[in-house]
């Protein structure tokens, strides 16, 4: 039993944090928000240090790490609200490594490792958002698959060269590998709360049958989708840990620096108790997110662990960023000051993750079954 990071993990964590701290300056992030929302210069820097390659197996040019190492890198991203599609690359690498056919691995993993491939994952559904029951329909006919359906708000879809799309293929869930710029895919970019580039994806196209994840490799499509979903939740939870941390760091510096009634704000317990609550919540987020990532990386049943981490990541982060925003007073509302960005990320990621209530319901179902 050891909750400490290994030396390798510590190095990855420090390296990622260092890149994000150096690259994701407030000025840069602000400039990227005003352009297309994707910091390609930072993306390059990350690639130079092998961050996108973390979870790509060694034979395809990566380091062969797993969900824990990805989570550590993502915490650094969240800490600096850096606008790059890192979790998408990481989760796609793991999905291809675990479930992809040899041909699919050879086709996609090297590009992910070099960061030339930019990935979108179309998890969200309209309405009930039941990821395990995709509303996009796939129909096999003569070696090809007809894909029809709509996916709202797909992160980075307009920048992606590869989209992972859950589909109900002839009645069973599968993951399709789709070129988001292929004919038959209509992308409608949408404005989002935290300025992340997203697009609605309307699909009406044929793809080869070997574009279904794991085609011919004898995999269980439902398990592949579940794994994709659980790794996505664990990764988003890791980003949220960083977001919560970052918002608290700004808050601590605001409270220490600003004087009111002849004392620093930090001398008023009403502010410090609230900030301390945020710290406690962040630690709960951190240990549950690390545990979920670890269980996934070991290949254990992680349904309960992922649900717990996702619950904290959704509920906890909202609490922390709301408190941080409030504790900044008027200055928090001014978008020239960076704290609002943490609020927007925290809220946005909670929406991507799914509501705390939904995760509790999943957990409740798991409890009832045991």
């Amino acid at each position: 039993m050891n909750f400490d990071l290994s030396e390798e993990q510590q190095v990855i964590k420090d390296l990622a944090l260092q890149i994000f701290a150096g690259q994701a300056t407030v000025e840069r992030v602000k400039a990227v928000e005003k352009s297309d929302g994707f910091d390609r210069e930072m993306w390059e820097q990350l690639a130079n240090s092998g961050i996108q390659a973390l979870c790509v197996p060694e034979e395809f040019g990566g380091s062969g790490f797993g969900a824990v190492e990805l989570a550590l890198a993502l915490m650094g991203q969240g800490r600096h609200v850096a606008p790059v599609p890192l979790w998408l690359s990481g989760v796609a690498a793991l999905a291809l490594a675990d479930f992809g056919s040899p041909a699919q691995q050879a086709a996609h993993l090297p590009g992910i490792a070099t960061a030339e491939t930019v990935v979108a994952i179309a998890l969200a559904e309209q309405g009930a958002n039941d990821v395990m029951n995709p509303t996009v329909i796939g129909t096999t006919a003569g070696g090809r698959v007809r894909i029809e359906g709509f996916k709202p708000a797909v992160p980075f879809a307009q920048h992606a060269t590869l989209a992972l799309v859950p589909v109900m293929l002839d009645g069973a869930p599968q993951v399709a590998l789709v070129d988001p710029h292929a004919a038959g895919v209509t992308l409608s970019p949408v404005a989002t709360t935290n300025r992340e580039p997203q697009a609605h994806m309307e699909m009406n196209l044929d793809i080869p049958v070997d574009s279904i994840l794991g085609h011919g490799a004898g995999i269980d499509g439902r398990e592949a989708l579940r794994s994709l979903y659980e790794h996505s939740l664990a990764s988003l939870a890791a980003i949220q840990v960083g977001v919560a941390e970052g918002s608290l760091a700004l808050t601590a510096s605001h409270l220490s620096g600003r004087t009111q009634f002849g004392k620093p704000l930090s001398a008023f317990q009403a502010t410090t108790q609230r900030a301390a609550d945020g710290y406690i919540t962040t630690e709960a987020m951190r240990v549950t997110a690390l545990n979920a990532a670890w269980r996934l990386s070991e290949g254990f049943d992680a349904r309960r662990d992922v649900a717990v981490a996702a619950y904290w990541a959704s509920e906890g982060a909202q609490q922390v960023v709301t408190a941080a925003q409030h504790l900044h007073g008027g200055i928090g509302a001014d978008i020239d000051y960076p704290v609002h960005r943490y609020f927007l990320w925290g809220i946005q990621l909670a929406s991507v993750l799914g509501s705390a209530s939904a995760h509790l319901s999943r957990l409740g179902n798991l409890i009832a079954r045991t």
Partner: protein
């Protein structure tokens, strides 16, 4: 105790409703809110507010609670509330006059000179004067009395230098109420003067702040050698703190009784989104209804007191906090109902992005008129009789304080 309209009140309500039906369009799916949306066209919204205020004035519905001698109707707070409840169901523009009618008017009525009252009260009611509030400064925050904008007497004028922030609609205002330091050797509360400032005076620069909501409702205001005639002092030199209390109390009451959206909008959202029967969503809706009912009765109690010309007591302070809390929780409930759609913003968002705007607006509500924390302190002191929190700097000369710019 009578929780509901008396026959007289019901008659007044019917009269108001009939007049509104004749002069405005009832809100509907086609007309969901202000016909000129302040989040999209702030200038147009301000003009629409001016126009509607003129209509109100011309038909005798302006300044309902103001004494008749100032152009008002001399009616009770309850009658005003009845009119506002009815008006909230119509697609009319009103927000711009919150400061002018809600705060400046009552302050001038209580503390202004006859000349000041004569000059401004009627134009305000007619929609001719939009006012803004130059109180907050970058370094002052909750500690408003620490403000550092200086006004120095020079002949018949005062010369003002300093910087203000969070000026609502400063870029459209005709006049401002301004707090400035006129004696730095007094303790901080004792050296402040309350001025009327003509916003067309030379030396005023207004710079809009882009808010988290994307709107430029607030501004920074820079004052450089701005001259104000001595006749524009309200309440006497160095007496400004007391005058400001009238303004701030009215601001709190205004915020606490504000908000034109209700828990039924949430119920409606849940129904449209097909999740009104989800037991967890249902529970959140029921909580929202419970909070809203509480606000309603807290509001009734406040208006009862105001109608009896009693100052709202400590129990009234709860209204603004309860309102801010309701606002936050209801917005969070809406975001939960929207699910993944809550990620969308602006034109791409559901329901004209009203839920996203609500979520972000919570912070302004929780700060305006005194932060949540300050309100809690006042409640502890006045509601529970706890001793006032010791403020070590309150008797020291302002000049000696360790301030941050």
């Amino acid at each position: 105790m009578h929780i509901g309209d008396t026959p007289e009140e019901a008659a007044y309500r019917a009269e108001a409703r009939a007049w509104l039906e004749a002069h405005a369009t009832r809100k509907s799916d086609a007309h969901p809110g202000d016909s000129v949306d302040h989040t999209r066209d702030l200038a147009g919204h301000v003009q629409a507010c001016r126009d509607w205020q003129r209509v109100l004035f011309d038909h005798g519905w302006a300044g309902i609670t103001w004494p008749a001698q100032y152009g008002g109707k001399g009616a009770s707070a309850i009658q005003a509330a009845i009119f506002n409840e009815e008006m909230a169901q119509f697609d009319v523009a009103v927000g711009t006059f919150a400061v002018s009618i809600g705060m400046v008017g009552p302050t001038l009525i209580a503390h202004g000179t006859p000349e000041q009252q004569h000059k401004h009260l009627a134009p305000i009611l007619k929609g001719e004067e939009v006012w803004c509030q130059l109180f907050s400064e970058p370094g002052s925050g909750s500690d408003l009395a620490s403000l550092g904008t200086r006004a120095v007497r020079d002949g018949d004028d005062w010369v003002v230098n300093g910087q203000k922030v969070w000026t609502s609609l400063g870029q459209y205002a005709d006049y401002a109420i301004l707090l400035a330091r006129t004696d730095g050797d007094q303790p901080k509360h004792a050296g402040i003067t309350y001025f009327i400032l003509d916003m067309k005076s030379p030396g005023i620069e207004v710079r809009p702040i882009t808010q988290i909501t994307g709107v430029q409702h607030f501004n920074e205001t820079f004052l450089t050698d701005v001259r104000i005639p001595n006749a524009n002092v309200v309440g006497g030199p160095n007496e400004g703190w007391k005058v400001a209390q009238t303004t701030l109390a009215n601001e709190r009451n205004f915020i606490g009784s504000g908000g034109s959206w209700s828990a039924s909008d949430l119920v409606d959202l849940a129904q449209r989104r097909g999740c009104a029967h989800d037991p967890h969503v249902r529970q959140r809706l029921a909580e929202a209804i419970s909070r809203q009912e509480t606000l309603k009765y807290l509001g009734f109690r406040m208006r009862t007191a105001m109608s009896q010309r009693r100052m709202p007591g400590p129990e009234m302070l709860t209204l603004k906090l309860a309102f801010a809390n309701h606002w936050r929780l209801s917005a969070e409930t809406a975001i939960g109902i929207l699910g993944a759609d809550a990620m969308l913003w602006g034109d791409d968002a559901a329901d004209e992005n009203q839920w996203g705007q609500h979520l972000l607006s919570q912070f302004a509500i929780r700060i305006g008129g005194g932060t949540d924390e300050i309100q809690h302190n006042i409640i502890a002191e006045r509601g529970l009789g706890l001793p006032r929190e010791p403020m070590p700097d309150k008797d020291l000369p302002w000049r000696s304080l360790n301030r941050v710019g």
